[in-house]
């Protein structure tokens, strides 16, 4: 189980943008909680979902499945999914599995959520 505090720091949102800090949560069944939180944000009107992989060393099959769930939900609501700070090996995996067909990969860490960046999103 991911505690409420952990969940709150893993998914942050402002306006129509939400940032998900994937960490290692995605690679376990507990990742479903992150997925549910993302779905909640999407149904609340989130239009851009940024998944940040800066703290994620590897993504296993459970992680891929959770991400597919997030992608599916986003596509149902018409939201855009962006992966940032993805390690090369992980980017290679996403590319090979076809996830990159559904998301945008951004190399650099996004600027902190500010009024300007959010309005630009």
């Amino acid at each position: 189980m991911i505690s409420q505090t952990e969940l709150e720091s893993a998914v942050k949102a402002e306006g129509e943008t939400a940032v998900v800090y994937a960490g290692d949560y995605l690679n376990k069944i507990t990742g479903e909680q992150i997925e549910r939180e993302c779905k909640r944000r999407l149904s609340d009107g989130c239009k851009k979902l940024i998944v940040n992989f800066s703290q994620t060393e590897i993504v296993n099959s459970i992680g891929v499945s959770i991400l597919l769930g997030v992608i599916d939900s986003a596509s149902n609501t018409g939201a855009r999914v962006v992966f940032t700070d993805v390690k090369d090996e992980t980017a290679e995996l996403f590319d090979m599995l076809g996830l990159t067909r559904h998301v945008t990969l951004e190399k650099n860490k996004p600027a902190p959520l500010t009024a300007e960046t959010l309005s630009a999103g």
Binding site: I29, N60, S65, L68, D72, D88, E92, L93, M96
Partner: protein, 433 residues
């Protein structure tokens, strides 16, 4: 090495294949571990589905468990199938035959439309973009089915993908088969438990019927065996015995006089003090009772011994064998006290029942001679608990009548008796407040 380092498409392909292998084998290894773990069935299946979908980046899918009794597939885990996909799907004979023939090999939904299953559920399958149905077969038995949607890459499933799916499907099938086996064991254990309970009830009813038959012979002591059973039960409870032992004690009480069935009714019902010859015949009833009860396989120990020795006394003056204290089975000592107490507290053809204070004095006086002190003590304790309200039971009041039990001075007398008995033994004193 990084993908951008490769210039040649062939080398890039090789690297991709290697990464794919590592990724899928990782998933396969994790799946094996998950199935071997003792997590809950639901969690195992949910995790297995994640691993399978994630291994090949399949957008949506589900795992259904097959009920061979109902010929239904019940969804146990699903991802991305939405509300349109049925929670249960029926398989007909032709479907089952084809599923079995396919074994664990994936069936292309688009090519399986000839089967009734794909005709009936065609709309749901199409709407949720299910591309593959994978029968989960173990030891020639269908245990479930996997439903898999399109791949994230948009590519068709390759034969390599299908091999991976079969391998992973086998693990999931094992998990379901294990669960089925466990459920079957639980069902059988439950059936056995019910059967045992039924047998036990039948036994108890038979014992009660016997007790009633014994008591019918003696119009003056109607209900005697049942009361002795109840008193013996109370003693067992006070001694801190377990449920089965208490039940056994009650049965011993119910059946202690079974030998009286062979004694002539006129002797049992004689409205006078019987003569020596009649007394000799009457005194045969413990041994006869033992003979009747011995061949029966009782679920509780010592029931026949309780019948045989319930007229023995600690001082060796009892019958039929004149045993002394430690030679007498404990259960027989319990029944002896319960039997004597009931004899003293019910009207007999030749004398009225005795007042409570006299009975207590008698039991106390004969404690250590006829009765085992710890049993007398336990019996008095049980009675005192009811009279002081410490116990909510109303058994003594029901068996002896409210007036008899609530006569003035009974509670202080019981407390005093218990304290006097404690003074001569290592038993605990009772507060006189």
């Amino acid at each position: 090495m990084k993908i951008q380092d490769f210039k040649s498409p062939n080398l890039k392909r090789l690297s991709e294949d290697k990464s794919k292998l590592i990724h899928t084998f990782g998933a396969l290894a994790e799946l094996g571990q998950e199935v071997a773990n003792k997590n809950s069935f639901q969690e195992t299946i949910r995790t297995s589905l994640h691993l399978l979908l994630g291994a090949l980046a399949i957008m949506r899918g589900g795992v259904a468990r097959f009920s061979r009794f109902e010929h239904e597939l019940y969804m146990v885990a699903a991802r991305g199938l939405g509300d349109d996909f049925p929670l249960s799907l029926t398989l007909c004979y032709e479907d089952e035959r084809q599923f079995l023939a396919n074994g664990l090999y994936p069936m292309e939904a688009a090519q399986a439309t000839v089967l009734p299953f794909f005709q009936i559920y065609g709309h749901s399958i199409e709407k949720t973009k299910i591309e593959l149905a994978v029968p989960l077969v173990i030891s020639d038995e269908i245990v479930g089915t996997l439903f898999l949607g399109e791949k994230a890459s948009g590519e068709h499933y390759s034969s390599y993908d299908k091999e991976i799916i079969s391998a992973m499907g086998r693990h999931i099938a094992v998990a379901i088969a294990q669960r089925n086996m466990l459920a079957e064991l639980e069902r059988r254990a439950d059936e056995n438990r019910k059967l045992y309970d039924d047998l036990r009830m039948t036994y108890k009813d038979t014992v009660k019927a016997f007790a009633a038959a014994i008591d019918c012979k003696d119009k003056y002591t109607e209900g005697h065996s049942v009361r002795v059973g109840k008193y013996t039960e109370i003693i067992g409870e006070e001694l801190g015995w377990g449920t089965d032992e208490i039940e056994g004690a009650a049965v011993a009480g119910y059946l202690h006089d079974v030998g009286k069935l062979t004694v002539e009714r006129k002797i049992i019902n004689a409205p006078y003090r019987i003569n020596a010859k009649e007394s000799a015949e009457l005194n045969r009833h413990p041994s006869v009772g033992y003979e009747i009860l011995s061949p029966i396989h009782h679920p509780y120990a010592d029931v026949p011994l309780a019948a045989k020795y319930h007229h023995e006394r600690l001082d060796g003056n009892g019958y039929p064998d004149g045993l002394y204290d430690r030679e007498i089975p404990f259960i027989a000592k319990m029944v002896n006290l319960a039997d004597s107490f009931d004899a003293m507290t019910t009207d007999r053809p030749y004398k009225r029942r005795r007042p409570a204070h006299e009975v207590f004095e008698d039991l106390q006086r004969n404690s250590g001679k006829q009765f085992a002190p710890e049993i007398v003590n336990a019996f008095f304790r049980g009675m005192l608990k009811e009279l002081t309200g410490e116990s909510k039971e109303r058994r003594f009041r029901r068996l002896l009548g409210r007036e008899y039990m609530e006569a003035d001075g009974i509670v202080p007398m019981l407390k005093q008796t218990l304290n006097q008995m404690s003074a001569t033994s290592s038993l605990t004193f009772i507060s006189m407040d």
